[in-house]
């Protein structure tokens, strides 16, 4: 696969998704970038903004296995990863695969399950494997977790622990649509669109899982200049020394930013990364990996403000010599 093919495929996937999901261009782009960079995505937004629809459409367009887990307070780890069940006929334990054994996993309202169940995903997300009773089983490739959470409701929810958050490459905020987009959504529905019957849309299966892996491998091979590497390191290191942040981002953030930038560059038809790729993805990569100091929180600051401040302070590589 070459860069032009990559870009063309990326655009086709995007166009197909946008047939069903209107007005969420940046969300779709970032979700695809995460997918191509082998990352996972945490979607945060109010109910009804199309988070679940995005994942469902993605599953259709990518021709990947797709599973959904509705996280509830009584959900157990074995409900996610599976467990050994005694087979009376054979007189032995058989492993019953949980829904995590899929290529595209939608973890809906992930913060409704207790930390114990949330943690069941840790190994799956990072190692792309599941260990039960000492036996490790690999997950299918490609593997992408898209988790959603609702920032408004707090009753009966369990905030994700930092270790879990760090596993997500991007945290994307799903914003409410503008008036024009809202109108377009209504027109779609008037024209017969039904989110429950996506088959009627005849969405094209743009790429197979094997093709997706090919794209992922291509993105990883893109050239990254030494200045860009240093730029990424500068940004992430500064999160650890920022006065308004209680804790900074881990090296995993640097790696996510690097691979994300590679995927973005490839999606733009380039075979090298530019500072713009890094700058565009930095908020999505960092915002959930840092913690605000209480006084900054009281002042009404957000982690996005801190990231923006850091980006203003860090010198872009190869700035003009004048």
């Amino acid at each position: 696969m070459d860069t032009n093919q990559f870009q063309a495929t990326f655009e086709t996937i995007r166009r197909e998704i946008e047939r069903a999901l209107v007005g969420q261009t940046e969300l779709v782009e970032h979700a695809l970038i995460a997918l191509l960079a082998r990352g996972h995505v945490l979607l945060e937004g109010a109910p009804g903004l199309g988070k679940t629809l995005l994942v469902r459409v993605l599953g259709q367009v990518l021709a990947c296995d797709y599973r959904r887990i509705q996280f509830t307070p009584d959900l157990m780890p074995s409900d996610v990863i599976g467990g050994n069940v005694f087979n009376q006929q054979r007189g032995a334990f058989d492993f019953l695969k949980g829904p995590v054994f899929t290529q595209l996993l939608l973890a809906d309202e992930i913060n409704r399950a207790p930390a114990k169940t949330q943690s069941a995903l840790l190994e799956a997300m990072q190692e792309r494997q599941v260990t039960v009773d000492g036996v490790t089983r690999p997950l299918p490739e490609p593997f992408l977790v898209m988790a959603t959470q609702n920032p408004i409701e707090s009753q009966g929810t369990y905030p994700l622990p930092e270790a879990q958050l760090d596993r997500f490459m991007f945290k994307l905020s799903v914003l409410s649509p503008s008036h024009d987009v809202e109108t377009a959504i209504l027109r779609n529905h008037l024209a017969g669109f039904d989110a429950q019957a996506l088959d009627r849309l005849n969405l094209a299966r743009v790429i197979t899982p094997a093709g997706l892996l090919d794209m992922q491998n291509h993105a990883r091979r893109l050239r990254v200049d030494e200045g860009i590497v240093s730029y990424i390191a500068d940004i992430v290191c500064r999160t650890r020394a920022h006065r308004s942040l209680y804790y900074g981002a881990s090296p995993r953030a640097s790696i996510a930013l690097l691979h994300g930038a590679q995927a973005r560059a490839a999606s733009r038809g380039r075979d090298f990364v530019i500072p713009d790729d890094v700058k565009a993805l930095a908020p999505s990569v960092i915002r959930h990996r840092v913690g605000l100091q209480p006084d900054a929180e009281i002042e009404g600051m957000s982690t996005d403000d801190c990231v923006a401040e850091i980006l203003r302070d860090v010198r872009v590589p190869e700035t003009i010599a004048a």
Partner: protein, 649 residues
């Protein structure tokens, strides 16, 4: 009563003007000082830097005074001799003739043609505006700009040389780097030149945190017409900077062509327009009321010391009949039209007034009977006094640099001569006609071939100061100087617009705003992004934090925070900043609120334990305690914007 108020208001309105007039009057009444002494006193002041700074940079014109011996007057101006020895390093701002546009008397067909051309021009302007907005609105919004040929390249480079040396240096550097084979660096320099030019045009701000994409987005937003070209340049630049392919001469040539094309076309036009507007906003420089050798500050001071009352005239000379001045001096910067000359003539012929015309490139009206001839004198030729003046004034010497001469009618009288031609001449008028009667000191027109005698440096040369005094003495001591600013002030804003001929410009501006409003609609002028609230009330912070912790089942922590806050506020309100004991605080609060001491003490103790991290007892109701503490705060009153806590807390 109403009338009294009206008069009072008018007085208040007029007061500042009166003050300005007083300031303009400049020199208060003082005893007359002898001429040479007055010159010494004047130049002893620090503002006349050329008399105190041996390295003072003189202009070539000012150096001419050195040849006439200005530097020899070391008593009055000690440092000038040394300054005269240096080369002329400064340059004089050339005074420009004001641009006056007056339609010539044309026949009907030509006049019609002129109006048609004018109409076409306005229509083209409107078309350009509409097209600009349409371009701006269109989605792609990219107008392809043709790459200029080599001649255009040269033109672009020439343009860059003219307006911005920084950009020019960058372009030169790019050329040099390309010549040396370092095409990667050359592309960077060419791109830097483009960015600097865009910055100069106010389109982007070059900052270290900005990426090329940021610049492109800014250009796309502000100048969509050049965004396509800019994007192509940025692509090439980024490929050179971050890609791994070799950068070739063809790559550099492509960038160079696009950059110079952009510099020459769109941005060049923008800059040129900016420069034209800037130039249009700058009038001719004020004619030397300064302290340099070419200025007049010393002359005005000198005349003041010699008993003259000198004012700068700001009102138009057309209104000279309303003036109380006895003598009007027209400096070269004063430009008089027909109306002004008529008013001056009337003023001279009907009252006891004198007019002094100090050179200048002007056609004098016939009734004055004299004409200024430019650059006719020879430098070595001295100026001599007329016979009558020699008798009256004594042996005074006059030295001025290369100067103009006069041509005068026989009925005028020559006061100063140079090379057998008049340098200063006067003419007397009585009842509207020229007269030989000099008994009366007024109704006189004195014409000087130039204004050299009215320059600071002139006072240091020979007996110029004394001669100037003698020349002006005959016209009265109440003197008004008409210079560059004369006639530029107006009594009301409408008159200002009329005088400045700003009507068309204002109409154009109004039309532009109208187009802008039509294009942008009601959003124009209204902030599109509301300002984010930066800081909330402190009590609100605490409440929000308390709620946050309560929701996260952190009642104990919430009680700790609220308890610490409440204890401190209660101490403040009960005046117990020194007494830190809880029992004292509980006593004071109980006394103030009427609650039992034990209840208050229990609450305070719980709050203290919570703030110290002591675990809660079984059955403790931390949130209720928080609510109780808040009620205590309410009951004790005080400031801080505290609001009632919701009952369900």
């Amino acid at each position: 009563m109403k009338r009294r108020v009206l008069v009072g208001g008018l007085a208040l309105l007029l007061l500042p003007q009166a003050a300005v007039a007083q300031i303009d009057g400049g020199v208060p009444a003082q005893p007359v000082v002898e001429s040479a002494q007055a010159v010494r006193e004047i130049f002893a002041a620090r503002p006349f830097e050329f008399c105190h700074e041996p390295k003072y940079p003189l202009t070539p014109a000012e150096k001419a005074w050195c040849d006439l011996g200005a530097g020899d007057n070391t008593q009055a101006c000690p440092a000038l001799r040394q300054a005269c020895k240096n080369d002329a390093q400064a340059s004089q701002i050339e005074l420009r003739e004001p641009i006056s546009f007056r339609l010539p008397e044309l026949g009907l067909p030509l006049r019609l043609l002129l109006w048609i051309l004018l109409g076409l021009g306005v229509a083209m302007l409107g078309f350009a505006l509409v097209r600009h907005f349409l371009d701006h609105k269109s989605k792609d919004g990219v107008i392809k700009t043709q790459s200029p040929d080599s001649a255009e390249d040269d033109r672009a480079a020439a343009f860059a040389r003219q307006v911005e040396t920084d950009v020019q240096r960058l372009l030169e550097r790019a050329r040099a780097e390309a010549a040396a084979g370092d095409f990667r660096a050359a592309i960077g320099s060419a791109y830097a030149a483009l960015l600097r030019r865009l910055e100069g045009a106010g389109v982007v701000h070059v900052e270290p945190d900005q990426t090329n994409g940021d610049y492109v987005r800014k250009v796309k937003h502000d100048q969509p017409a050049i965004a396509g070209q800019m994007l192509a340049v940025v692509d090439a630049v980024e490929t050179a900077q971050f890609g791994d392919g070799a950068v070739t001469r063809e790559g550099f040539d492509g960038v160079w062509k696009r950059v110079t094309g952009l510099l020459a076309e769109r941005i060049g036009v923008l800059l040129l327009a900016g420069l034209v507007m800037f130039g249009a906003s700058c009038g001719p420089p004020r004619d030397g009321w300064d302290h340099s050798p070419s200025g007049r500050a010393g002359v005005i001071e000198y005349l003041g010391k010699r008993g003259f009352k000198v004012h700068e005239r700001l009102l138009s000379v057309a209104k000279i009949n309303d003036s109380t001045a006895e003598q009007l001096i027209l400096l070269p910067g004063a430009h008089l039209g027909d109306d002004e000359w008529k008013a001056v003539k009337k003023w001279i012929l009907t009252g006891d007034h004198a007019l002094v015309i100090a050179g200048g490139r002007r056609e004098l009206p016939d009734w004055i009977g004299m004409r200024i001839v430019e650059k006719q004198a020879v430098r070595s030729e001295p100026v001599t006094l007329g016979d009558a003046e020699s008798k009256l004034w004594g042996a005074l010497r006059v030295r001025v640099p290369e100067a103009n001469l006069l041509e005068n009618k026989p009925d005028s009288r020559t006061l100063l001569t140079r090379k057998q031609a008049p340098y200063a001449a006067e003419r007397w008028f009585e009842h509207g006609v020229a007269s030989d009667d000099e008994d009366d000191d007024y109704n006189r027109v004195l014409v000087l071939a130039d204004d050299f005698l009215l320059r600071n440096a002139s006072l240091l040369v020979a007996d110029n100061a004394a001669v100037l005094d003698k020349l002006l003495r005959g016209g009265g001591t109440n003197v008004e100087l008409a210079g560059d600013l004369t006639g530029l002030v107006s009594s009301n804003p409408v008159e200002s617009v009329q005088r400045g001929r700003l009507g068309p410009a204002l109409l154009q501006l109004a039309a532009f705003l109208l187009v802008f409003f039509v294009c942008k609609g009601a959003r124009f002028g209204r902030p599109t992004h509301s300002q984010r609230l930066q800081r909330r009330e402190f009590a609100e912070h605490v409440r929000a934090l308390g709620l946050h912790y309560a929701r996260a089942r952190g009642e104990r922590l919430a009680l700790g925070f609220v308890g610490t806050y409440a204890s401190e506020r209660l101490r403040e309100r009960c005046g117990l900043r020194v007494d830190r004991s809880l029992s004292g605080l509980a006593d004071a609060v109980a006394t103030r609120t009427g609650r039992p001491v034990g209840t208050v003490m229990r609450m305070l103790l719980e709050a203290r334990d919570a703030s110290k991290g002591v675990p809660a007892d079984k059955g403790a109701h931390d949130l209720e305690t928080v609510g109780e503490l808040c009620k205590l705060l309410e009951e004790t009153g005080g400031t801080g914007g505290h609001k009632p806590i919701p009952g369900n807390l």
